[in-house]
């Protein structure tokens, strides 16, 4: 009797094992499915196809809706399949993409984009100004799930459109198929860079989709129609996004196929060495190791944003600018760049970047003694405790947080670090350390983080900083057509902001890229979401291995 029972148990166990194996076999995720484009993807016979490129993604993509709030991995994928009117090159200059040229009227209120002729969508439909208008109407409408609606402030008719009074924006005009015009109620030079870089999507497949839930349409998980150098093939969740050369692109794209793969950065660095990856964004911690690898080129560029701490300036104790200046003096930001970033970064002394920064701003060299005396002058109570919140998990920020804590404590300011999973609701409870942003292409973008009108939740001014004079200068600059004149005005604003310490600015990390020798033509940019800006010109030379 016992024997049969045991046998039964053994059979049951064997059955379990069998079920597990069969289940695994049935759901073989790589059993080459047919992609929507109608061609087989993942062809085993073309093992490591000669013109295939593997690129590292530092996060998993979530959606491919260009107007959804920016997320790095989404942006990287989208820039291969969609194009903006204007791109930015590795020097952060605006360059023609879907628009061949653009001009601003003498009164600064009208921007005219002359579109490139003969562009077609990857499904063969001609690209026209109607596509641009369609896309911009969605970008300008929060109801579509757009995270950019506020950037259209000042465009003619935008208020009526956003409040639902009007169906369209009167300021978006399409005089003919190759011209798109944006009219504003007041001079707005900065608008060019602000909205010119938005990715344009096709009207035809999306025309009848209602605006509510527009961002949830199935097209955004499978965006098969674009004008970019590559066309979307498939996104195998957690594994890779596959794109292939777009035969309808205006020039011949030499890279046949790209796989964008979200893996851990350790694995990505290892994959460089054994040829699994051709292009990897490298963290400064791995820089030395990657530089020693054979056949790997390392290049970098200055980032467009920076790491900073926002203090709640509406708390009386932070109102005295000497307290804020003391904090900057107390922190050895130069050593931070050396130790945390391996020298690949710049100390930041204001929210302004590039040509908007005057030569004679205060550099706030590390000076703990000066910090102490400033705190004393300002009457800072050493018993006061300041909590700094940050989201842990990124090496540069984690290290910066601990250094800030110890160096502020050293000059007599009690700091407590608090890890959060998400940022505390605005205003920053005491202080919040965060990074990012894009301030280098267009200084007018800075107003979002420092203007009196953009306090959270109506904008990105987390510390609730306000200086009317800066606001006036920036508006004046934004209405000035002559670039040199404009930069002079921004420099005046930058000088004030540098003295007042709107944020505790720390540093701007470079983006570091490692490229395998078979992949040619990559031009490193400091914008870690912008590496594909010239991907249409990349070539592959397998002899270079």
């Amino acid at each position: 009797m016992k024997r049969t029972l045991l046998r039964r148990a053994a059979a049951a166990a064997a059955g379990l094992a069998l079920v597990a194996t069969v289940a695994a076999a049935c759901t073989d995720p790589t059993a080459g499915g047919t992609d929507p484009g109608g061609e087989k993807s993942g062809n085993p016979s073309a093992a490591a196809g000669p013109k295939t490129v593997n690129v590292y993604l530092y996060q998993k993509p979530t959606t491919f809706y260009p107007a959804a709030p920016a997320a790095g991995a989404n942006q990287l994928v989208m820039t291969t399949i969609f194009e903006p009117l204007l791109g930015t090159n590795e020097k952060y200059e605006l360059i023609p993409k879907l628009a061949e040229k653009w001009e601003i009227s003498p009164d600064g209120k009208t921007i005219t984009f002359n579109l490139r002729q003969g562009v077609v969508w990857s499904d063969g439909t001609p690209f026209t100004s109607k596509d641009v208008s369609f896309s911009f109407h969605k970008f300008a409408d929060a109801k579509s799930g757009s995270g950019y609606a506020l950037n259209f402030a000042g465009v003619e008719g935008i208020d009526d459109f956003q409040s639902g009074k009007a169906q369209t924006v009167t300021g978006f005009q399409t005089p003919d198929d190759n011209t798109f015009v944006v009219k504003s109620t007041k001079p707005n030079v900065g608008l060019v860079a602000q909205i010119g870089v938005y990715l344009i999507f096709p009207e035809a497949p999306l025309k009848d989709v209602p605006v509510a839930g527009f961002d949830k349409n199935a097209f955004w998980t499978n965006p098969t129609v674009g004008t970019g150098p590559f066309s979307f093939v498939t996104y195998k969740t957690d594994q890779y996004v596959e794109v292939k050369a777009n035969p309808k692109y205006r020039t011949k794209v030499a890279v046949d196929r790209m796989y964008l793969r979200p893996v851990t950065s350790d694995a990505a660095t290892a994959s460089l060495q054994n040829g699994e990856m051709d292009l990897v964004q490298v963290s400064p911690t791995d820089l030395q190791r990657v530089e020693q690898m054979e056949g790997i080129t390392v290049s970098s560029g200055p980032g467009p944003g920076f790491i900073r701490i926002a203090f709640d300036l509406q708390q009386p104790r932070f109102k005295d600018k000497r307290v804020r200046q003391a904090m900057v003096y107390a922190i050895d930001r130069k050593s931070m760049v050396e130790t945390i970033l391996g020298g690949k970064g710049t100390v930041q002394n204001g929210v302004f970047m590039g040509d908007a920064v005057p030569a004679d701003i205060n550099q706030y060299e590390y000076d703990p003694e000066k910090a102490k005396s400033l705190l004393k002058e300002a009457g800072w109570d050493p018993k006061e405790v300041v909590t700094i919140n940050w989201i842990p998990g990124q090496r540069d920020r984690d290290a910066a947080a601990t250094i800030v804590e110890s160096q502020l404590n050293a000059v007599g300011m009690k700091v407590k670090l608090n890890q959060t999973q998400t940022l505390p609701p605005p205003p920053p409870q005491d202080a919040t350390l965060f990074g990012g942003g894009n301030y280098i292409v267009e200084p007018y973008n800075d107003r979002v983080v420092i203007s009196c009108k953009t306090w959270v939740p109506n904008g990105g001014n987390l510390p609730r900083y306000c200086n009317e004079q800066i606001d006036t200068l920036m508006e004046q600059a934004n209405g000035t057509l002559d670039r040199d004149e404009r930069m002079k005005l921004y420099q005046q604003a930058a000088k004030i902001e540098n003295d007042e310490v709107s944020y505790l600015w720390l540093f701007s990390p470079d983006a570091i890229w490692a490229t395998s020798s078979r992949l040619k033509g990559v031009k490193a940019t400091g914008d870690f979401t912008g590496i594909f800006w010239n991907a249409a010109e990349w070539t592959i030379d397998d002899a270079a291995k």
């Binding site: 148990a9 993942g42 969740t237 290892a270 990074g435 990012g436």
Partner: protein, 319 residues
């Protein structure tokens, strides 16, 4: 037996309900707001309050907690865990997508564990207190103690970077995907998990066998002329394996739950990785869906273990 089963089922439904309430409250008790994940501070500047309100409404976060809970429970009963905040896809679909890769990885690892543990366990029992026994004890202790992320990164360094014989991450090469390719990707994570899992099994087999080896019936078998090997394998081992039924049944949730650390290190597209990513992003529906699935599995396999035990060991009477 039938009455026992019904009683067990009723208590389990009660347990599940308590788990649901606990899960729902726990996940939402984590400080922070999923909206912050969707709209980081850098992009706050262009989104504005209207956008934030819209998203909150879409995700149902503007409803009172009780209403949110009722909705979620009502859907969960029908197997619908809602839509992921981050991906705007059905959570059920996302979980199903990962069953294959997870079972493949965990099943292979379990097999490796057993292949290692049985011979070692038997050997350790037969050569009790010998050098062999101590070495296996050291091995199982080490396998349990050394953190897998350390071993994982070490393995990537040795096999991918230095020797360049195995791929560093993923389940298949995008442009390949043959069985052999999957096997090469599977090798490192499965062996690591197999090693780590073998430790406890070695101890179970050893102690199970030791408790039977000196039993009367084994001595009787030997007295009747059976060889030592036959006495051990045919008689003692069969009874020694009875406790292992429980252990095996209880490892089923593990089989589907995936391995959080190893999957993350090797970017294996399984359940464990999904759970980590969802937790980081405060993706409530995915976290609760995943946790609920595992809870159901734990309860079910506990029940299965008890029933199986009664089947294989007639000394056990359920009632």
């Amino acid at each position: 037996m039938g009455a026992y089963l019904i009683r067990r089922l009723i208590t389990n439904i009660g347990v599940l309900f308590v788990i649901c309430v606990g899960l729902f409250i726990l996940v939402r008790a984590v400080p922070g707001d999923p909206i912050d994940v969707l709209v980081p501070p850098e992009v706050r500047g262009s989104a504005g309050p209207e956008f934030l309100e819209l998203k909150r409404h879409e995700l149902g976060l503007d409803q009172p907690l009780v209403v949110q809970f009722g909705r979620w429970l009502g859907d969960a009963v029908t197997g619908d865990f809602g839509m992921s905040f981050q991906y705007n896809r059905s959570v059920t679909g996302m979980l199903l997508e990962r069953v294959g890769p997870t079972v493949l990885l965990m099943g292979t690892a379990l097999l490796i564990s057993w292949l290692l543990a049985f011979p070692l366990g038997i050997l350790a029992a037969l050569r009790r207190n010998s050098a062999v026994d101590y070495v296996t004890a050291a091995f199982s202790l080490g396998a349990i103690s050394i953190p897998t992320f350390f071993l994982g990164i070490g393995a990537i360094y040795v096999f991918s970077l230095k020797l360049q014989v195995l791929p560093s991450s993923g389940m298949s090469s995008p442009d390949d995907g043959s069985g052999l390719d999957i096997l090469r990707h599977l090798a490192m994570p499965a062996v690591l998990l197999g090693l780590a899992g073998a430790g406890p099994y070695v101890r179970y087999v050893r102690s199970g066998l030791l408790s039977e080896l000196y039993a009367d019936y084994v001595r009787t078998a030997m007295a009747k002329g059976a060889s030592r090997l036959r006495a051990v394998v045919r008689h003692a081992l069969r009874n020694a394996l009875i406790p292992l039924v429980t252990v095996a049944a209880l490892s089923i949730p593990n089989l589907l739950g995936g391995a959080v650390v190893v999957e993350t290190v090797f970017s294996w597209p399984g359940m464990g990785q999904l759970a980590v990513a969802a937790t980081n992003a405060q993706d409530y529906p995915v976290i609760t869906g995943f946790a609920l699935l595992i809870s159901v599995l734990v309860i079910a396999s506990n029940l299965a273990a008890d029933l199986l035990y009664a089947v294989v060991d007639p000394r056990v009477r359920l009632g």
